[in-house]
Amino acid sequence: MLQFILRRLFYLVPVWIGISLVAFLLANLAPGDPARLALQRALGRQPTSAETNAAREQMGLNASAPIQYLNWLGEALTGDLGLSYRTGKPVLESLAERFPTTLQIAGGGLLLAIAIAIPLGVLAAVYRRGPIDHLSRVVALLGAPMPSYWVAYLLILLFSVQLGMLPVAGSQTWQHAVMPALTLGIGGSASLMRLTRSETLETLNQDYIRTARAKGLHSRTLLIRHALRNTMIPISTVLGMRFAGMLGGAVIVETIFSWPGIGKLVVDAIFDRDYPMIQGFVIFMGTAFLLINLIVDIGYGLIDPRIRLGRM
């Protein structure tokens, strides 16, 4: 197991370099002068040539692109991801500051998605074509196509405007996290519910389930101890991917709820051509994706001991 984990962590190094190079090239290919854009934001007007030149010098943008990348890479290898062009703060500090806040709503959203989708998906499979199955289908049909901003506004109208239970936006108390997490959870639960249903149906039709049932095993034991464990393997893969997606793609939710997370940070960075922040984000999220996948892989072994990590 340890060898497996170490090997997967070692893979991070070439992945880091590869994705940072791609991020650097993409950012540099995009039109716009980061110095000029940073100044426009700071000054609220078009900067003068003298101001732009001074800023370019400060940012190290007068060097050639390969030199800029190598300078950045050299510092990144020592753990320094540079300073944000937009805020002037160390990139790593900004990412470390913002990541836990995104983790809170993404984690909450994931738990909510699991709590809604898995029981409802399993029940829909067990009671196929019954009222619960129809209900789950309606919930999935309504939930899947609803854009997150629409869900967010509906939640605000209900919980803030009508009921006065939750604050519209902000990040100072646990109440502020409820609606962002709900928005992410509702968005994630629809497709997860359908997947759980189809996987459970498929498992319930397997020969070993039929055999166990013929032997007189109690249906609840059959479902929980035998069927669900097998169903959980593809579901855990999707859960891992969805969680990673929530971490990096919660920008709309973060903007509406004024939630200072990592998604909003990087979208602002893209608009401002904040190369260090974009590259830092890519590295950071690449690492997060790989670690989540690693956790999912380890989880396979726990769900099904027949899966041995060393051979994966």
């Binding site: 716009g32 002068d33 854009l37 101001e51 732009t52 805020t87 803030s160 604050p167 902000g170």
Partner: protein, 529 residues
């Protein structure tokens, strides 16, 4: 920015005016004022502060009135003394400022020339700004007198120096670390991207201090969420209500307040483009476009009536009495058709005009500030131009950087822009956008001039506006320059003058809305008992 050439008649001592407005505060006792009571939450847009060497926490873009500038820009764009009591121009290029006495920063540090020098040196270290402040520009004469000599002869410095970005800091202060100003409010708490709380400064030097005990500015990047926060009672006042949904404020039982015009929306025609973007070189096409636009339809259709027909692309108030010298082209589609006919643009296939086998196809680029800032305006313009036989292709750029890159290479005929005026210099925007570009200048900095500059007559008027000593002459010259680009050369088609819109609940009794958001004074805010 070119160096001003002065004749001898202009090289004379200039005594600045404007002491009268705040003269009553001179010699005012520094005794503590009665502390106002009550607190309010205000919904504002996103936290745009920087934390690097250009740190501007507390003063730009959200001005929480912790800091103050040397001059104050009134809502009708006049300059009044603030931390500077008076000023005079000393030949050949120096401004001598007499500073207000008896003013302290919140921690008790006295305000004096050293603070002004520290602030101006900080601006110099970051490139000098539009004022052209250099490392050697700032010389302390005595505790309350300082001389500032910009790197070029800058007759407009006192109109520029009141911009909140030039707010005065006590010596050694880094606003990224702490906020200690001289303003009517003191900082209580700043939580990045969440809120900013300030309280009344009971020791404020000015006559008009805070009218409320505490203000919490809550950041809402999403305008709809800001509106819902007002509806939910999370805040009692919101600024920058989206003009498309302003009616929802009243529908929610709150009060809607419209301020004076401080921002604009306008369309510029590329007059130096190469094929296929060279049709703007034809004055008949430019004239036809300018008179084919029904501003009122744009205002009603895109902005739900929450704007005024634009006459220039700067707030008319800044031109003073000279505002009447420039007016927007009158909507007259029939004449637009005649102008095109006379120029040889005859109706062709599908109703689109043609000349020498070339169809009258124009392209409009939408993306400044952002494409979303312009709502359905491009589509309305497209329909109006179609009515006179011009085919308009709409291109939305994903961000400002892409827009500017496209402008830099001249790929487009019409350019749709929105902007605002935040200092008292009437020549600032026209000079920035339409002056002839410097030979060999920075490509991005000269992009506007390479597309829109009309030449000598405009440049002469702008130079006159930049160099004049009398503010009425400054305004008159700026109006003349605007008239050239709007009515003579038809490069600028003004669309709308934007006023700021706020919404508030019954908790708010008074609030004077400033035309320029970054110059807002929160002292006028008072609450119901």
């Amino acid at each position: 920015m070119g160096r001003t050439q002065h004749g001898m008649d202009r090289r004379q001592l200039l005594l600045a005016t404007g002491v009268a407005g705040i003269a009553a505060t001179i010699g005012k006792s520094a005794a503590a004022q009665d502390a106002p009571s009550g607190s309010i939450r205000v919904g504002v847009s996103e936290d745009g502060y920087r934390t690097d060497e250009r740190a501007n926490i507390g003063f730009f873009p959200l001005n929480t009135n912790i800091f103050e500038s040397l001059t104050y820009l009134t809502p009708d764009y006049q300059i009044e003394p603030l931390l500077a009591e008076s000023w005079e121009f000393v030949e050949p290029s120096t401004w001598r400022l007499t500073l207000r006495q008896g003013v302290s920063f919140h921690d008790g540090t006295p305000f004096n020339a050293e603070a002004v020098k520290y602030t101006m040196d900080r601006i110099a270290a970051n490139g000098g700004g539009v004022m052209g402040i250099g490392e050697e520009s700032n010389v302390i004469v005595d505790d309350f007198t300082i001389e500032i000599t910009p790197t070029y002869v800058n007759m407009r410095m006192m109109e520029q120096i009141g911009h909140p970005n030039n707010s005065i800091l006590p010596p050694g202060l880094n606003p990224a670390e702490s906020r200690n100003g001289s303003g009517p409010f003191r900082e209580v708490e700043y939580v990045a991207a969440d809120h900013y709380t300030v309280e009344a400064n009971p020791d404020y030097w000015g006559e008009t201090g805070a009218g409320v005990g505490e203000i919490t500015f809550q950041f809402y990047p999403d305008p709809t969420a800001r509106l819902l926060a007002l509806q939910a009672g999370d805040v009692d006042l919101i600024v920058d209500v989206p003009r498309q949904s302003a009616s929802q404020v009243e529908a929610a039982g709150a009060t809607l307040v419209r301020g004076p015009v401080g921002a604009y929306e306008a369309m510029y025609m590329n007059i130096h483009g190469v094929e296929p973007y060279d049709l703007g070189q034809d004055i008949a096409v430019r004239e036809a476009v300018s008179i084919a636009i029904d501003r009122q339809q744009v205002i009603d259709g895109a902005w739900q009536g929450n704007a005024e027909p634009g006459t220039t692309m700067i707030p008319p108030a800044i031109l003073g009495d000279s505002a009447s010298l420039v007016s927007a082209p009158e909507f007259d589609p029939e004449r637009a058709r005649q102008v095109l006919e006379a120029a040889g643009w005859v109706e062709g296939a599908g109703g689109i005009r043609e000349k020498d086998g070339r169809a009258l196809n124009l392209t409009i680029i939408n993306g400044y500030g952002t494409a979303a800032d312009h709502g359905s305006v491009p589509e309305l313009i497209q329909a109006q131009l179609s009515d006179i036989g011009i085919d308009l292709e709409i291109i939305q750029t994903p961000d400002t950087a892409t827009y500017e890159q496209r402008l830099g290479v001249g790929e487009g005929d019409l350019w749709l822009e929105a902007g605002s005026q935040n200092d008292g210099n009437p020549a600032f925007l026209p000079e920035l956008l339409f002056s002839s570009p410097e030979e060999g200048g920075d490509p991005e900095a000269t992009a506007y001039g390479r597309a829109f500059a009309t030449g000598e007559a405009f440049d002469t008027a702008i130079t006159r506006s930049r160099e004049a000593t009398d503010i009425a002459e400054v305004q008159e010259a700026a109006a003349e320059a605007m008239n050239i680009v709007v009515n003579e050369e038809r490069v600028v088609t003004p669309l709308c003058g934007f006023y700021r819109i706020i919404g508030h609940t019954d908790a708010v009794t008074t609030f004077d809305l400033h035309a320029s958001g970054v110059n807002q004074r929160w002292t006028s805010l008072t609450l119901a008992e």
